[in-house]
Amino acid sequence: MANDNSTTNYQWVGKRTRRPDGVDKVTGRARYGDDMMVPGMLYAKILRSPHAHAKILSIDTSKASAMKGVKAVLTSAQIPDHPLSEPPYAPIINDMHDISRNVMARDKVFYDGHAVAAVAATSERIAREAIKLIDVEYEILPHVLDPREAAGPDAPVLHDDQFTYSADGLSEKPSNLFRSITGHRGDLEKGFADADVIIEREFTSEPVHQGYIEPLACIATASEDNCVELWTTTQGHFVIRALCAKLLNMDLAKIRVTASEIGGGFGGKNTVYGEPVAIRLSQMTGRPVRMVMTRTEVFRASGPTVGSRTIIKMGAKKDGTITAADAETWYQAGAFKGAPVGRAVETYFSSYTIKNARACVHDVCVNRPKVAAYRAPGAPMAAYAAEGVINELAVKLGMDPVDLRMKNAVREGDESLMGSKYGQIGLVDVLEKVKSHAHYAAPLGKNQGRGFALGYWMHGGGLSSVSAHLLDDGTVTVATGNPDIGGSRSSMRVMAAEELGIDIELIKPIVADTGSMGYSHLTAGSRTTFATGLAVINAVREIIEKLRTLAAKKWEIPVEDVSWEAGLAVPSTSHNGLQALSLKALAGMATKMGGAIAGHSEINAGGVGAAFSAQLVDVEIDPETGFVTPLRYTVVQDVGRAISPDYVEGQLQGGAVQGIGWALNEAYIYDDQARLQNTGFLDYRMPVASDVPMIDTVLVEVPNPNHPYGVRGVGEPCLVSAPAAVANAVENAIGKTMSSLPMSPPIVLKGIEQVQASQVGSD
């Protein structure tokens, strides 16, 4: 594929254009998961465990079944069982044994909120009443919430069929520790011996929820011939189809999934929750079944991201060369294995050329909901610990924190801790932009502090399919299989228009259902503009080829003599007297001269571009209360190429504010029985408009050479560095290192009091 990186004189790429789905979203016309109604539908509700860890001794559904209006009651008996997957394990595990038990508990419940039974009834009110009539007898078991404790020998074991997996095979005894992934290079002992300064610290972070505003919602319509139509809010309807088919032993082709508009996901809508249950209830009743989670259910029973504990040690020479770095981290997987440990190791220390480094991350089951992805899954907690220590190294070495990073920054040809070799990357460019930014030198007032941190994310490629159709009137539809979570239709349209050389308004981007398209992986991993964008470019280039052929046929000249320029088929200069033909003119001829014109592309995109995001943040602390107010915020990120700059800026701004929430407020809070205490937005306090300042963005554009326009992906690196940057600002403001998130007012106040006490002591 031609590399057009030298060409920046684009007609549409990089321009601020209105998004094609915008009008529907400002008028309330857009239909999200919960906005669909089907005639004759039933309403489903799920009964959830009030216990964090218990055996299910019996479930009596007779009273619920007898209630007027109840059409079906379901337990795990109606969900097919699946064997445990076996080693060797893939980096990301989709174990049907676990997923079937997560959507409906089988013999045990593993967290407060775990689904135990479900009802389908003629109204939501009846369904709500009916689940209260289901009698479940539990034998309560001891629980464990902390991952390091859970990995120890004395912890209550969640799964008696889970053994620790390592290169030596499986452990003798069942364990909550599923596996550990280690990245290692060099000689740690030598590295620390070479260091002039060594810092050793412990960090903890709490699980945080993705906090999408649209609850999980779906409608399943099963028919007597084993077909299913499913409407659901998801980041990947092809993945939902695959999981439902495997879980329910159905044929893929007989499940047709339509993705609704999606009201936020951030990784939290990558998997199934209510969908298989709704399908089974529909199969049992012969009626459409609608399942919508309440906000409380979303918090209790859908996956937050991991909480973590880290022990970390880093050493550096006086000149700032980091000689060694060693981290051991325990990640909470929640009720079932699958914490993003591999990706944590990939990102650990990977912004730096540290010769001697090791990161070992443990995947540990605890009595919490099974974690899901959340925007750069696994990376922000690793960056929080590593960047925290690097900031302290800068203080100890008397070095500027950006200079320290520059001294150790990775460049093209260097490797991540897992050995990924960096291509053309923009870390140095990012750091230079930070140093020259006015924010970096701006004065700070009393009780104020400035924080800085760096984040790396490798991005995803993978399977994407696109179908583009040229219509008789010269307009074009571009269908993808990727839900549009934050403006991807806009980027797809821009790239198609740029290739075809026509006005963007002539192109209609569409998110098509699973019956209409080849397989398309999730809208996740910041892959859509990159991977699906590549497929869009391929598909419209196929249209261009067909248009050249059509023009050649019309002119009766060789196709090689026809070029495509700015929306026109142009004959070579050797053919005097022939007038260039527009896309519109050719579109009108196509059906009369051979048939309709379409382009398709089904690819597995490689060549992703890694990206780095630097964040600068100023905060002010109220010394009376410990309340932290972010005052100024700047995100400097290598975005490759901003196809739609408005939405690239929006990603960076949104990621920064999610990081502010993660650093300052958000946490899952449990009582001593491991029951979740903050199951609503009032107590699970995400940032509101009055909590945050404007978020300045600096888009550094170092193009990814593996994409015609240089796209890297932008949505995730910005969250990787955000919690660390905010935490660093708090530390600077109060003059003390802090090692746990969130830095809520009581914790900050305690820090302030410790500083004051030490000052009194030294006076």
Binding site: R16, R18, R19, D21, G22, V23, K25, V26, T27, G28, R29, A30, R31, Y32, D34, D35, M37, R125, Q210, G211, Y212, I213, E214, P215, E261, I262, G263, G264, G265, F266, V292, T294, R295, I485, G486, G487, D646, Y647, E649, G650, Q651, Q653, G654, G655, A656, V657, Q658, G680, F681, L682, M686, P687, V688, A689, S690, D691, V692, M694, I695
Partner: protein, 159 residues
């Protein structure tokens, strides 16, 4: 359980509906009347996604009962545009890319409309506090605040 018959005004039209005593305005709009532009984010008044305007005041539709609406004037997102002409706030949200997923947008637009009716010339801080009851998880609020301030300026200029 008997339903109550209610006559109300929605976006200027007289509308009849029947609802149970416990049904909220949000449920009535979405399930009884099929007006799904008003979004359900939490059902407990904490996210603002269901913000509508009742008798001139912005309210969370999930905290108002359907039976309270006899004779009321209700404004929802479906009535914000005048015919096919978008409200300046809707225009500015598109111009400033002030939405990503869009689920919070109808509620924020209604809240901003109510804010600007009370205060046509708000400061950034006033806009931020005015919208503090409306959660947005995607945008970080930056472009939303800019869009509201720009719409306010345009509405003042148009008098």
């Amino acid at each position: 359980m008997a339903k109550h018959h209610i006559t109300t005004n929605i976006n200027g039209d007289e509308v009849d509906f029947s609802c149970y005593a416990g049904q909220t305005l949000l449920e009535v709009l979405r399930t009884e009347l099929g007006m799904t532009g008003t979004k359900n984010g939490c059902g407990s008044g904490d996210c603002g996604a269901c913000t509508v305007i009742v008798n001139g005041r912005p309210v969370n539709a999930c905290l108002v009962l359907g039976v309270e609406l006899e004779g009321a004037d209700v404004e929802t997102i479906e009535g914000m545009a005048e015919g096919t002409t978008l409200h300046p706030l809707q225009q500015k949200f598109l111009d400033h890319a002030a939405l990503q997923c869009g689920i919070c947008t109808p509620g924020i637009l209604n809240m901003a409309k109510a804010l600007l009716e009370k205060n046509p010339n708000p400061t950034e801080t006033e806009v931020r506090y005015g919208l503090a009851g409306n959660l947005c998880r995607c945008t970080g609020y930056d472009k939303i605040v800019r869009a509201v301030m720009d719409a306010a300026a345009e509405m003042r200029a148009d008098g």
